[in-house]
């Protein structure tokens, strides 16, 4: 059974879906947040257009603060703004913020309990030709390790907008991760979104595919490929990595007894680790982590890299197939 409340009616037909980058949802979400709450302000560090902070700047020029290329400073300033009642959104590429600002986030936001929403753009492999120096593949790990931090990796453009608006209700720092490239808009515009509540997109009995970000769509397509081989996949969109929705995962694992995690991130410290920790402590079943296997990325087109590192639907399906064959014979 498919989740009709969530999935676009055309989700199986990629050609019929809009292709929009998740970062656009960040820009639009910020504008909506700005309209809902006049304390919302936005900061950026010389990447106003590509993080889509520009949308907010154009709408609310007096509530936009340009920081120049100074991410650590931007986070500290945001903490100060938050302490006096503002609701700051800060954005850069994920590699630079949170990449270069971890201890500022830890001390001045999380430890201080100042609510700031951090937008990490161009995360994952999809920045492509810029190469390894710009491909944030460790950001979920470093944010997830922080007490008081919420970590959200939305799956498509609509979900990013919903996540931004939902973040307003969280009374502590939030890290939102998004990607540069166009990706299919496969969720309904009014699909549900609740921070900390994973969404089962498709029921299945043989294996659980749990994914975050644009990998959710690849997981769905992989489940189609596997269905043709008589393998029934349950597909979970784990948009909130922290606080993690343990019960949705455990209920699924109890049905399938095999879990595969899929993320555009190192398999160390991200969604895969979260899943492994949850299963290990509560309901140990065999599992497999798909993601970057303790390596840096490299230059290439986004498609070439996803193919090379096994993150396309086809490659995911192959990996799932070979690992369950290995496991179950």
């Amino acid at each position: 059974m498919e989740n009709k409340k969530y999935l676009d009616d055309n989700w199986q037909n990629e050609e019929k879906l809009d292709m929009i980058p998740t970062r656009n949802g960040y820009g639009e979400g910020m504008v909506a947040a700005g309209e809902m709450n006049e304390n919302v302000v936005a900061l950026c560090a010389d990447l106003t257009e590509s993080t889509r902070t520009l949308m907010f700047k154009e709408k609310f020029p007096d509530r936009f603060i340009e920081c120049g290329v100074s991410e650590a400073n931007m986070v500290g300033v945001a903490s100060g703004l938050a302490s006096t009642g503002k609701i700051p959104f800060v954005a850069s590429y994920a590699m630079f913020c949170p990449g270069m600002t971890w201890v500022q986030i830890r001390t001045t936001l999380c430890y201080n309990q100042q609510k700031v929403i951090i937008g990490g753009a161009h995360a994952g492999l999809s920045v492509g030709p810029d190469g390894a120096t710009h491909q944030a593949l460790e950001d979920i790990a470093i944010m997830r390790a922080l007490p008081n931090m919420t970590v959200i990796v939305p799956a498509d453009y609509h979900e990013t907008r919903r996540a931004v608006i939902a973040s307003l209700e969280v009374n502590s720092p939030v890290y939102l991760r998004f990607a540069r490239e166009n990706s299919p808009v496969f969720s309904k515009i009014d699909a549900p979104f609740e921070v900390g509540k994973s969404i089962v997109l498709r029921d299945g009995t043989d294996v659980t595919l749990i994914a975050c970000g644009p990998m959710v769509y690849e997981a769905l397509l992989a489940s189609e490929i596997l269905a043709r081989r008589d393998i029934s996949c349950e597909v979970i969109n784990a948009h909130t990595i922290k606080p993690f929705d343990e019960s949705t995962l455990l209920a699924s694992a109890a049905k399938t007894n095999y879990v595969v995690s899929i993320e555009e991130h190192q398999i160390i410290g991200g969604l895969g680790s979260t899943v492994a920790e949850t299963l290990g402590e509560n309901y140990p079943v065999p599992m497999r982590r798909i993601g970057m296997n303790d390596k840096y990325g490299e230059s290439g087109t986004a498609d070439e890299l996803l193919e090379r590192y096994g993150l396309t639907a086809e490659r995911i399906a192959q990996t799932v197939l070979s690992s369950i064959t290995e496991e179950r014979g």
Partner: protein
């Protein structure tokens, strides 16, 4: 410097610009403005007889070091290294492609001639300072050059390194700044003002020179002056015109991060190449 040698260097700088444009157009993405505007400075460093290196032996212990801090202008470093003989020029066309040694931002272990990996701004000067410190500790003669952008002077890390080099009087360090006045969101003085760079560096105990970054003779003179100073680190603020050499790009921050044209649609790029090859009509076009 004899007139003839100078003209040779100017031609070299423009050949390098031609190669930058070729590689960027072929790549279909990448940065144009910075690489083009620092071509004269890089030419002076690599071909002006001021830096010791051996392309046949890139790990030569006695080599001077060149650190590129603003990694995004690597198309220029790659073209310069190819001209200097570190690897074949044809390889420039592999820029930013899968399996290329010419990564979108420099990857030290991938390509001979690179002393560091860079991309995140503001980190190069600390490494250059560490190298300079080490050479002074060991009483070695190696010189350290570092290229920085103006935009990365908004990073705290850059100023931490400026303090450090000033404190330890790292006189074997010459920093060349691409003062092109642009960054991604606009002109530096609008985004986050940097002036007066001269007074700032002076107050951090550096030897400061400010020059025309397109006058190869003054670049070489300034480097030689920096080497004659034995009490403090040196900075040369190179005033440059972003996109230098390609008229439709010059001074426009929109060209910070775009290639000069799209692959297969190179009309205006061909025009730009002609202008560059002929030094704006001063010399006969060379076919290459």
């Amino acid at each position: 410097m004899p007139e003839k040698n100078l003209l040779e260097l100017e031609k070299k700088a423009n050949q390098i610009r031609v190669d930058i444009i070729r590689s960027l157009v072929e790549a279909g993405s990448g940065h144009s403005a910075g690489p083009l505007d620092m071509a004269d400075v890089f030419t002076a460093i690599y071909f002006g007889d001021v830096m010791k290196y051996d392309p046949k032996n890139p790990d030569w212990e006695e080599r001077d070091r060149f650190i590129l801090s603003n990694g995004h202008i690597c198309p220029l470093l790659y073209a310069t290294l190819a001209h200097a003989g570190f690897f074949p020029r044809e390889e420039l066309l592999s820029l930013r492609k899968l399996d290329s040694r010419l990564q979108g931002h420099p990857h030290r272990v991938a390509l001979p001639g690179l002393e560091t990996s860079s991309g995140p701004l503001g980190m190069g000067l600390s490494q250059a300072a560490g190298m300079a410190y080490s050479f002074l500790m060991d009483k070695k003669k190696n010189w350290v050059f570092a290229a920085l952008s103006d935009g990365e002077h908004q990073e705290g890390n850059t100023w931490e390194a400026i303090l450090f080099a000033g404190k330890y009087k790292l006189y074997n360090l010459t920093v060349l700044i691409d003062r092109n006045n642009i960054q991604i969101d606009g002109y530096t003085e609008n985004v986050m003002p940097l002036e007066s760079m001269v007074e700032k560096y002076e107050s951090f105990n550096w030897h400061v020179q400010e020059i025309d970054g397109h006058n190869i003779e003054s670049i070489i003179d300034a480097i030689n002056e920096s080497k004659a100073i034995s009490t403090k680190p040196s900075v040369i603020i190179c005033n440059t015109i972003p996109g230098k050499g390609v008229e439709y790009m010059e001074r426009d921050y929109e060209w910070h991060g775009k290639p000069p044209g799209t692959k297969g649609n190179v009309g205006e790029v061909v025009e730009a190449l002609y202008e560059l090859r002929t030094l704006g009509g001063q010399i006969a076009s060379e076919h290459e």
